[in-house]
Symmetry: C2
Subunit: 262 residues, 2 copies
């Protein structure tokens, strides 16, 4: 039996989230079905993060154990063929240490939230951005970003149903920048609470919008608020899990990125 | 009667190209129907460039004459409502000079071609990139880019059916760069021949691919080739019309980009 790691990209709009559900198309379910279709093995794929329905991934990471001897290249190509047209691809794949764990070994997770900030709704980026047609005060939002980076307890920023024992987390980075018509919000942390990013974005927009809340409101949230005190949860389709890092324990070999054709 | 200019963004995958066709969804047809639906006027919308079926636009420009007095804002919002969910939006719109002509006044047109250059097919960018899973020699392609910038006659790079009287054109810029997993090819010129960009990209890839043609092959094409001597036409979905410039004759007022909500 061999353990493999894989890096996965998917269009969240095609799935009811990462995690397996009966009678629903999920990313985990699709990959598990693909492996069954190809090698008749019933496996369990473990992802670094359970993205919600509609949330995209550019670089989700997962691991899986397979009995049959398959080359990493054959596994990746086979899976991408089995999943063709479904909105999910394996970008890279390799053999992993026997005790590699995509979820527990992850040292850093990165998310990006895209706001299309213009009057006209999206056309070419529809499904990948949240459309906000009113002005936003980026300076105020960046001030809130610094407050969130100094936050030690994210109780105000986790949705009901969150299974984490503690809301004590460290947010390593919250960057807010304008790129043309878009506002990009980047969040990096070791781990996040349930819907934490989307609640933080909703809170940031509450401060950034005209006639919205003051920065001092977030100061109170950070110092001891509850979910009902924070801003709304923004839609999932603006959000993407961009990368998962494994620090020194990262022994993944990412060498085959382009085919050499002769 | 007032003449209006408009800047248009569309997903080429939703349309059989720009130009009106009976029984086909085209961008021109959709906008004209929208205006008829809202103000019961049968108008003709004139675009700066007639993009092919499947080709996207981030910044197509067009003009139209309307009898009814409508505010630019009302026209834009109304049209975007009428066209909602169809993959086409008006990004900006304003009153134009009576003799403004979106096509004949255009001084510069920009196109971008996106190649996804990795083993795995696209998921989140599918429909917006051409997938090329083999290695490409960017240095050789950039050399060809310089040759194309010095080309004076693009006879080898126009498809049959091209209605231009002359193939003598100037290509102001051909830039080829890697951005992560993508190769972006940017082309700027006053005007382009029929399918010129897609044939130039096909020719560039012929030189860039392993075991492909030499740069000297393009030298001959530039100095006096015909269509059959050049590379293949690459698929439309990697291509986008990014902008149209009007130089000193540009009196378009682009001031209302974001709503101020109070």
């Amino acid at each position: 039996m061999t353990r493999y790691w894989m890096e996965i990209e998917y269009d969240g709009g095609c799935f009811s989230g990462w995690q397996w559900q009966k009678d629903e198309e999920t990313v985990q379910g699709l990959i598990e079905s693909g492996i069954y279709e190809l090698w008749k093995e019933e496996v369990r794929v473990t992802g670094a993060g359970r993205t919600d329905a509609g949330v995209h991934a550019w670089g989700q990471v997962a691991h899986v154990d397979i009995e049959r001897e398959v080359s990493p290249r054959g596994l990746m190509m086979g899976l991408n063929y089995a999943m063709r047209g479904k909105g999910c691809v394996i970008k890279a794949l390799g053999e992993a240490r026997d005790d590699f764990h995509a979820r527990f070994d992850a040292r850093v997770r990165g998310y990006c939230y895209r706001i299309l900030n213009r009057v006209a709704p999206p056309s070419v980026t529809r499904g990948y951005v949240w459309h906000y047609p009113w002005s936003l005060d980026l300076g105020a939002m960046q001030e809130v970003g610094l407050l969130l980076e100094s936050c030690e307890d994210f109780s105000a920023f986790r949705a009901s149903g969150c299974q984490a024992l503690s809301a004590k987390k460290t947010l390593d980075m919250c960057r807010i920048e304008r790129e043309g018509e878009e506002i990009k919000l980047t969040f990096v942390a070791r781990s996040f609470l349930y819907r934490q990013v989307r609640i933080m974005v909703g809170t940031l927009v509450e401060v950034g919008r005209r006639g919205g809340r003051d920065v001092s409101w977030v100061k109170n949230l950070v110092e001891g608020g509850t979910r009902k005190d924070a801003g709304p949860t923004v839609p999932p389709w603006g959000l993407a899990l961009t990368h998962v890092g494994y620090g020194e324990r990262d022994t993944r070999d990412m060498s085959f990125s382009i085919d050499k054709r002769d």
